[in-house]
Symmetry: C2
């Protein structure tokens, strides 16, 4: 089941739309030119995790794209409407039954909440903004549990290009995701689950839909344990990961040291653990990189468990 | 007025749709991920120019994107329907009046015919394919007549990356055009009309929606004239220009010499004329490049006239 809610000045709480019917104009520049932005969030029991961080990134993407979108409060109202519809507690009458069903379920109910904004139809050029709520795929949970086979792919850009070339839209989460999707197809065709992009000058960047994390674990002669969590630095033009950011704050509070790249592929191969982290799939351990085993057995599992617990506590 | 015709197995001649109503699913991966392809063609008096070249490029884009789209005959049938609708000679009853109006016009009637194909809605993953016909903008004719101020912008990719990184989709005309649009916005904000992309290693590539052409003109002591038309080579990952290709063939028959890059920005600044060429705007002379005057006065105008005449003869 998919729920759609459009941002519409005539509907301050958002306009609920039929997800089984056409709702976009064929001339919408989102569809004809990938000219728009998005962000994806996880809602647990009807509450969006890291809502402010996602809305802040959406605004940042809009600014980079020079896209004039409604403010955070308008999005929040529509998100509330969309989640109520999805959980069956909306105003359409299906409410009580849905809510009862949800209450009976022993596990938490999770939803993927996607925010989208395009430059709108060619005729009006008024942005089209909507929210899509759907169930998470089973694949995410499976990959969290079993880990990933990952390959490095060249993203084609130098790690320094973002600073001089704002028209390349680095750091914006745009709808122009064809290369990200093609990279994933390429990985699947070569027996891998996912990709870590490298820059043309050989630096580690990010996954097509995730951030890269690695850890070092050291136990001193006196039994002191040092744990260090490292991610590539943002000035390479990668997307600021909201989950990576939140986990870094939580890990720091829990006594971890933090580090920011530059990282090269060899750094990942030498790490005690490597993960791809994102808002929906959360923390997925990397088992293999370009066919080579990754991480230190035992340590990797322990750190994954520890960080996953920290992540579960993030609101 | 915009005409929409969808490719639909239930309608062998194409399904005409209301362009003023929503016709796309909000979950279509064209809209949510720029995951699709397109091509733009010019129709004059109801006949598409270079139809086979455009359909062939569409198939090539689909192959690079691993997108399973209907064959050329299906597209052709729908194009015929769309052009008939646009020219008022369709089956919807508005036919005779529209045709009469068109016949009364002293100038040729021109139409932009856009072919689009996406990876389809997330639920079905069946490609969504449609044709959009609309009138050309007045800006194109104006720019052909008055010429362009153009700036160089770094496309971020090396000129050799295309050969090793098929996942970057170089040479495919994908719907992920956000960078192309951002480059044009950047140019407009800096007082320019258009952009010529360069590679990170300094080679001339293409415009965001056009191919680059330059010419050398030499008159020997014996009065012999040598005219040489040059364009960047395709292995830089640029899009094969259907209009550039057709003009090259016509120019060769007319006695021109042909050349293919590598070209650097200085080559363009030293040329006797530089143009951006594309299917809709056709041949637009470049007056200025990064603020420097381009071309040899007199020669530039003569060559533009000569090549435009050749272009007008291309079917």
């Amino acid at each position: 089941m998919t729920v759609l809610v459009f941002l519409d000045p005539a509907y301050p709480q958002g306009r609920v739309a039929d997800a089984t019917a056409p709702t976009l104009m064929a001339t919408d520049q989102g569809a004809t030119r990938g000219d728009g932005i998005f962000d994806s969030m996880l809602a647990v029991n009807g509450k969006v995790r890291k809502l402010e961080a996602h809305l802040s990134r959406l605004v940042s993407s809009a600014n980079i794209m020079e896209l004039d979108i409604p403010g955070p409060d308008v999005w929040k109202a529509a998100i509330t409407t969309a989640l109520a519809e999805f959980r069956g507690t909306g105003t359409d009458g299906a409410g009580s039954a849905g809510a009862a069903a949800a209450a009976e379920q022993p596990h938490q109910d999770e939803a993927v909440v996607k925010l989208l904004a395009t430059r709108g139809p060619e005729e009006t050029k008024l942005p089209t903004c909507w929210i899509q709520v759907s169930a998470p795929s089973a694949l995410g949970a499976q990959q969290r549990a079993s880990g990933l086979k990952v390959m490095f792919l060249n993203r084609g850009y130098s790690s320094t290009v973002a600073q001089d070339a704002p028209w390349l839209l680095m750091g914006a989460k745009t709808l122009s995701y064809a290369v990200n999707m093609a990279a994933l197809r390429h990985a699947h065709e070569h027996g891998n689950d996912d990709v870590i992009f490298t820059s043309s000058d050989g630096m580690v960047l990010e996954g097509p839909t995730s951030s890269v994390l690695m850890a070092h674990y050291e136990k001193g002669d006196d039994g002191t344990v040092t744990k260090r969590l490292i991610t590539p630095q943002l000035d390479t033009g990668i997307l600021p990961g909201t989950t990576q950011g939140a986990l870094f704050r939580a890990a720091k509070e829990a006594g971890w040291e933090l580090g920011y790249g530059p990282l090269v592929p060899e750094d990942l191969l030498d790490a005690d653990a490597v993960w791809l982290i994102s808002s929906i799939r959360l923390l997925a351990p990397v088992n293999e990189l370009d066919g080579q085993a990754v991480g230190t057995a035992g340590v990797r599992e322990q750190l994954t468990e520890e960080l996953s617990a920290l992540l579960a506590g993030i609101e």
